[in-house]
Amino acid sequence: MNASRLFALGLILPAVGLGLLAAPLPTALEAAVRELRAVTVEGQGNVAASGAWKAVAGAPLSSLPSLLEAMDGANDYALNWLRSAVETVEQRGRLAGGTVPVDGLEAFLRETRHHPRARRLAYELIQRAEPQRAARMLPGFVNDPANELRREAVDHVVTAGDAVVATDVPGAIAKYREALGHSREADQIDVIAKKLTDLKEKVDLPKVFGWVMKWKLIGPFDNTGGAGFATAYPPETQVALDAVLDGKGAQVRWVDFESKDDYGMIDFNKPFSELKEVAGYAYAEFWSEKDQPVEIRLGCQNGWKVWVNGKYLFGRDEYHRNREVDQYRMPVGLKAGKNVILVKCCQNEQKEDWTKSWDFQLRVTDAQGTPVVSAR
């Protein structure tokens, strides 16, 4: 997938103008900021940005909120140019004995329309200047759209549960339940879930994560020498659930598969046995109540490809290196009504015990990681 396709998938935020700046920057500084925002793929814009960066990094401390606002709508390359400039303004300004505009930073931080990363950076600047003010603000971020802020606030709730667990188990459980409801990151969810299960509480992990559990699987197809990864077997052009297809050494049919795993693992080895140099497909219907942007979040350590409504999202031919929850995040738009998710999952030739897995886990979420579940 090239970078232009990446833009098309929405992995890079669409650009917006600088017209929304609350406190306009001086013209020369605004021009420099525009140079930083203009950087794009393969270092395009780097030469102009390098000169502009020094101008931005030399801005006064009072410009910090406006420089943070300049991150709104910036692409991920530009965000890094801007971030390093903001931090340099703050570090050099502080060394020179200047005053960080904490009130302005707080006002910026409280506006959730701003870029989540810029808001988190504003929080950290406040933390350095007035740690007690930051600490007072923290609990209010427990439902914040900026995941880094939210995560820390959720940790704060967990800590409150930890503080009373020895003397007030129901109180601790209530705190842990509150934290679990707000957490959006897998490792944090795991920690909270363990605290609850240690207290004999039941945690419905498939529901918390929102795994897609019901699929139809077909396979095996040939993946000798890894060639099957690039071979478009019939399900890639048309899915006919009653079809009988020529597979690897036999005719194959779609079979029902429902995961019973807490982490939503869709295991091809179960219906098809532990095979090598094979490929399989998984098909799921996902019903959406409305047109909406979502992320397909996949964990897989086999070769894989994903399509939604026939549109190819991404694929990767890496085998048995590692797997984790939300390993790959693919933005896509769902339409109201039925949507079709198709996953291709390939197994290679390796024979070691740790190379047996031929599986994946998949969930549909919003950009923050809140599960979006099928309406049917």
Partner: protein, 416 residues
């Protein structure tokens, strides 16, 4: 993030002024495994008796990492990564004399940061050409900063080329030569090595490479015509690349390890291939000539080290093997306290070996008179008490070791 509040304070102003004239000199350690990429510090001696009093200073680090410190003039550069997903990428600059943080820059990873738990996004080592510090991370984000911390350029190679990643993490360190920063981004999928213009970060060239996960690092050597050649190791072997163009000058195709890296010494390549294979490039651009091969010298994660007429390999368990560079004949083996991931570094002919438990073991091979009693070579030990996976660095008469949370300068303060 309170780290910076305590480390980078008004009290740093004096150190900042003292360090403002950063002059590179021959005793620098500008990249992974030192100036020649062989782990040897030329013209430098360190104490052989190390104890807790040998620690000149230590500094807390804001994140994890196993990258080696880079020392240029009076500055020490270190990379780290932090955050729940290790997606905060840090470049720090410390004052050599007192370990005071002079500046820190952070970046958000634009590529994947998933790694094996033993490593982190800050696994590849940075490099310097004496003008700028170049840092790359497992996410394949690559930055160039001047010595005052001004951003010169940023590249998101993992964003530019989205399938260029490794779910166990990337670890190939940078080298910079001939005005080109060489980034070896080799993996199972979108595998390449890029030559980035040192001034702009733009691609000077991009070379398709074997589609196989590769954790080795490039090394710069002199070609038979005296011009620099970058040796790129992979599962397929070793290729000699012209750094200004990416042109493949020669190729050794008999396979090589994807973990320990080739060491260059005396114009020869000591390649972790079928044990250890020593190659000598030829003037005609043909495959390098094999000088010798020794299956019993197979290194573990550590790369080979050459000191004079002796070559050393270290396996993961801690067996240090010494062989004659003339023919590969093994002379002795010494059991160190393992396990090891880092590569020994050398000053004054003495090896400084740091195991994963943070135990620095000083090995002076000159003390061995009887190959049956190699243990006399262990001159001293210093327990740093933290997990150390990265390779240390040597400069200014000191050893620089980093863990996930700390950077130590160990040696003579009087050398400043």
């Amino acid at each position: 993030m309170n780290f910076m509040n305590t480390q980078l304070s008004l009290g740093t102003a004096a150190s900042l002024l003292l360090a403002s004239l950063c002059v590179a000199h021959a005793a620098d350690w500008p990249q992974f495994r030192g100036p020649a990429g062989d782990g040897v510090a030329p013209d430098t001696k360190l104490p052989t008796t190390l104890d807790t009093g040998s620690v000149t200073w230590s500094a807390n680090l804001p994140g994890r990492g196993i990258s080696s410190p880079v020392i240029v003039g009076n500055r020490v550069f270190v990379t780290a990564s932090s955050g729940a997903r290790q997606d905060r990428l840090h470049v720090m600059c410390y004052n050599l004399a007192d370990g005071v943080l002079l500046w820190e820059r952070q970046f958000w990873a634009t590529g994947r940061t998933q790694t094996h738990e033993k490593i982190s996004a800050a696994t590849p080592s940075p490099a310097s050409d004496g003008q700028r510090i170049y840092a790359i991370f497992s996410s394949n984000d690559c930055v160039a900063l001047d010595f005052e911390g001004n951003l010169v350029w940023f590249r998101g190679l993992g964003r530019d080329y989205p399938n260029a990643s490794n779910s166990l993490g990337m670890s190939s360190s940078l080298v910079v030569t001939d005005g080109v920063v060489v980034a070896q981004v080799e993996n199972d999928s979108e595998s390449f090595t890029a030559g980035l213009d040192a001034k702009s970060g733009l691609n000077r060239w991009k070379l398709d490479r074997p589609k196989k996960a590769n954790w080795t690092s490039p090394v710069v050597m002199k070609g038979t015509d005296g011009k620099p050649v970058v040796a790129l190791q992979s599962s397929k072997g070793v290729a000699g690349i012209e750094p200004s163009t990416g042109k493949v000058l020669w190729n050794y195709d008999q396979g090589a390890s994807t973990v320990p890296s080739t060491t260059v010494s005396g114009g020869r390549l000591y390649v972790p291939s079928q044990g250890l294979t020593v190659l000598e490039p030829t003037a005609d651009g043909q495959a390098p000539k094999q000088v010798w091969r020794a299956g019993q010298l197979r290194p573990g994660t550590s790369s080979p080290v050459v000191v004079g007429d002796r070559v050393f390999t270290l396996n993961d368990g801690g067996i240090l093997s010494c062989a004659d560079t003339a023919d590969g004949k093994r002379l002795w083996q010494l059991r160190l306290k393992g396990p090891f991931s880092s590569t020994p570094v050398v000053a004054g002919g003495v090896l400084y070996c740091v195991n994963e438990k943070g135990l620095v073991q000083v090995v002076d091979p000159a003390k061995i008179t009887d190959p049956a009693k190699p243990e006399v070579a262990i001159a001293s030990e210093l327990d740093l008490g933290q997990v150390v996976v990265g390779t240390p660095s040597i400069a200014a008469g000191s050893l620089f070791v980093r863990s996930d949370g700390k950077l130590w300068r160990i040696g003579r303060a009087s050398a400043l």
